[in-house]
Symmetry: C2
Subunit: 194 residues, 2 copies
């Protein structure tokens, strides 16, 4: 069973573009509905209350707001957001990996400063949407490079009809999504799992 | 007088790269110090308590976390963050303008969906750093296009030795920064205004 308020917003404000794509920019990753975000933060803290998480890792830009509200509900632990490369104002000593951006369709380097992540970090990876898992796989690579422990992986919306979530679970990762879309219909209908 | 905790973090964790550049990625725009962010959110709510603000506008990626904490302390009003173009998953009906990114040194288009901003919106523009004001001028252009009223403009760190802040105030905008750096010294010393 997914988070009710999130599923409501998806049904009401989500725009089904085709059978693989739903626009959620009206409340989740462009315009932010703060009531929804705060409820999501609470839900994440509850979902992962059993884990000794001490850092949240996400990727710019869609994941940042979600990571912030999760961190607030998890005792104010720090957030690190991976940045796209060619930045001139970030410490040049970085972990780096390539990832296919679902927002632009382009292969992008993402980087995390070495001082921002290391052994001793027990990480929750958060992102807005999990489809094929490209962005999250990039963040996983960076955690392995840094020697950080991945305690869990979570997203607001998992696309159950794509392979990212299943593949991560097969590899042993603890993936818990706030809601899972089973199917996007051509007529704009949305079916949730559970 | 700037926000004390922010000035402390800048002194302790900021890295002066040259007389125009200071890296604040250890606490403000890569790794996020949540205690600091929450205090900044409180300070923004207090600074602009006299204004009928009903929306916060920022630009990805550095401003998002700051806009979120400000919104939480301002009654949970919505946040909109402008996105870089070539995104495939945002409503294609947008306001758009060009801005010079200080993070990449490149001219970038930023966009806001038309449904996310309009007449009736009374906007507070937030960003992490104000130097020459390129990003903020882009957000101002978008507000004018949308017919939104700009109630105020604020940043965490204003570089008082660059012209962005003075130029915005000359044009009549209400710009209030959480702290202003007067001078970055070659030896790494930082002088704050006030």
């Amino acid at each position: 069973m997914g988070l009710q308020l999130l599923e409501d917003r998806i049904r009401t404000l989500g725009i089904v573009k085709d059978d693989k794509t739903i626009l959620v920019d009206a409340f989740l990753n462009h315009r932010l509905d703060m009531e929804l975000l705060n409820e999501m933060g609470r839900a994440w803290a509850k979902l992962f209350a059993d884990k000794p998480i001490n850092k949240i890792l996400t990727c710019e830009a869609g994941g940042i707001a979600l990571a912030v509200v999760a961190a607030q509900h998890m005792g104010g632990i720090p957030v690190v957001f991976a940045r796209k490369t060619n930045l001139v104002n970030v410490d040049p000593t970085v972990y780096s990996t390539k990832t296919l951006s679902s927002s632009t369709g382009k292969l992008t380097d993402i980087v995390v400063a070495r001082k921002a992540l290391g052994t001793g970090d027990r990480v929750l990876i958060i992102d807005d949407i999990l489809g094929n898992g490209c962005a999250i796989n990039g963040l996983i690579d960076i955690c392995w490079d840094a020697g950080a422990v991945i305690e869990g992986i979570t997203v607001a919306i998992e696309k159950g009809f794509q392979q990212g979530g299943a593949s991560l679970r097969d590899r042993g990762y603890d993936v818990r999504s706030l809601c899972t879309i089973e199917r996007l219909g051509a007529a704009g209908d949305i079916r949730f799992r559970g």
